[in-house]
Amino acid sequence: MYKIARENLTALFQKIAADQELYLPVRTADQVNFGVWTEDADVDLDTLKSVKSPKDVFFPQSETLYTCIRDGKKLKVEPEALKEQDFVVFGMKACDLKGVEVLDRVFLSDPVDSFYAARRDHGTIVSMACHEPEETCFCKVFGVDAADPQADVATWMIGDDLYWKPETEKGQKLTENLADLLEKAEDAGSEAAVGEEQEKIRTIIEKLPYSNLSLEGWNGDVLMEKFESPVWEKLYKPCLACGTCTFVCPTCQCYDIKDYDTGHGVQRYRCWDSCMYSDFTMMAHGNNRTSQKERFRQRFMHKLVYFPANNDGMYSCVGCGRCVEKCPAALNIVKVVKAFQEEEV
């Protein structure tokens, strides 16, 4: 284990950014999101949750797939290059890491998404434990330990020190590169400090209102029963059909592929899509889900039923609580789970 004083972090970031891109929580116009580090970026490591999850580091909101350039009646097709440079993501929380695990299931299983895979290969993740979890968090429900964020490097911000623990080969390599800035912290005091912090985090998490949410009855086997439940009819009513929940979510992975006419050709790109949108999976004949109830149901069925059915029981919710915070109509996955519980009692 290593440590570095908080005041030296800028030097650390400088060093990392010297030869690769560095993504970390940056405050822009009063909001914290993951962004590229620059000298004048306002780095914010104290805000628990970035507005958007950092999934866009690996799966950007929009990315070009290829470009067609028209020359008279001839067409030239230029595929977009895959990510070739290494980069570092600093400050991902345990829930976001779990989110990446979910995305891996989708994009790295056959057929492999080469754009995503290239980014995963080149990215080194430095995680950070959640110093002060909040009332919207329910990662525990999904077996996530916010106090022990497993990544290439795990870190804990304790007081004025950042404790740094490489966990993988990639993490080790990064640590070596930063050797002159990181201070060895193999002593018992450091271990104890981290242990104490972990304990503190876990104690708070036990107390959080959502931590004992039960997911009993939510699995791949209850498809028809849940699908046909009358509860949805009541639940969806306040939903405004915006895409906030899906766009802040660390696991939502649906995208649309669109063409942009540049005037001298076409740029084909993909961009996040939201199952809440009326034109989600629009096809020539129209739409699969014509009502907001169906669209609303889709999101939660996918997270809690369809996904576990296809992925060895793994839910595609990680309990980060972003949707709880951001939904304009105060709807969220927790309310959905609870509503079914009440109904079933």
């Binding site: 942009y260 540049t262 005037g263 001298h264 740029q267």
Partner: protein, 147 residues
Amino acid sequence: MSIEAKEEFRPKIVAFCCNWCSYAGADLAGSSRLSYSADIKIIRVPCSCRVNPMFILRAFERGADGVIICGCHPGDCHYTSGNYYARRRMTLLFSMLDYIGVESGRTRVEWVSAAEGVKFSQTMHEFVEKIQSLGKNVRLEDLRCRK
């Protein structure tokens, strides 16, 4: 011509002209041989009120450096009131563009009657000069449309 002259800034300017007055005014400028810059390209619309703010933003998105809308003089609209609506719409739109930091000189509305070939040509002259002085539109351009 020297090489430098070829590299000079040639703005792209879209002019929306109403069919009844301004387009005819442009025709008159043509038949009177009143020259103006070839950077101006005219799109014929039935009335200035047909010009949707989307058209203007789209032109800028596509790399236009200036957009000018010409219609009948207030009171002379072929459709009685079209240019009055256009006047309000464009005033508000231009004000918004100015508000978000787009130079207000990039947009203009001018009333040109069918008899005002001279005015048409002069207006186009002035507008091209203005755009020349403002340079390339970079604030509203969609970079994907660049060649």
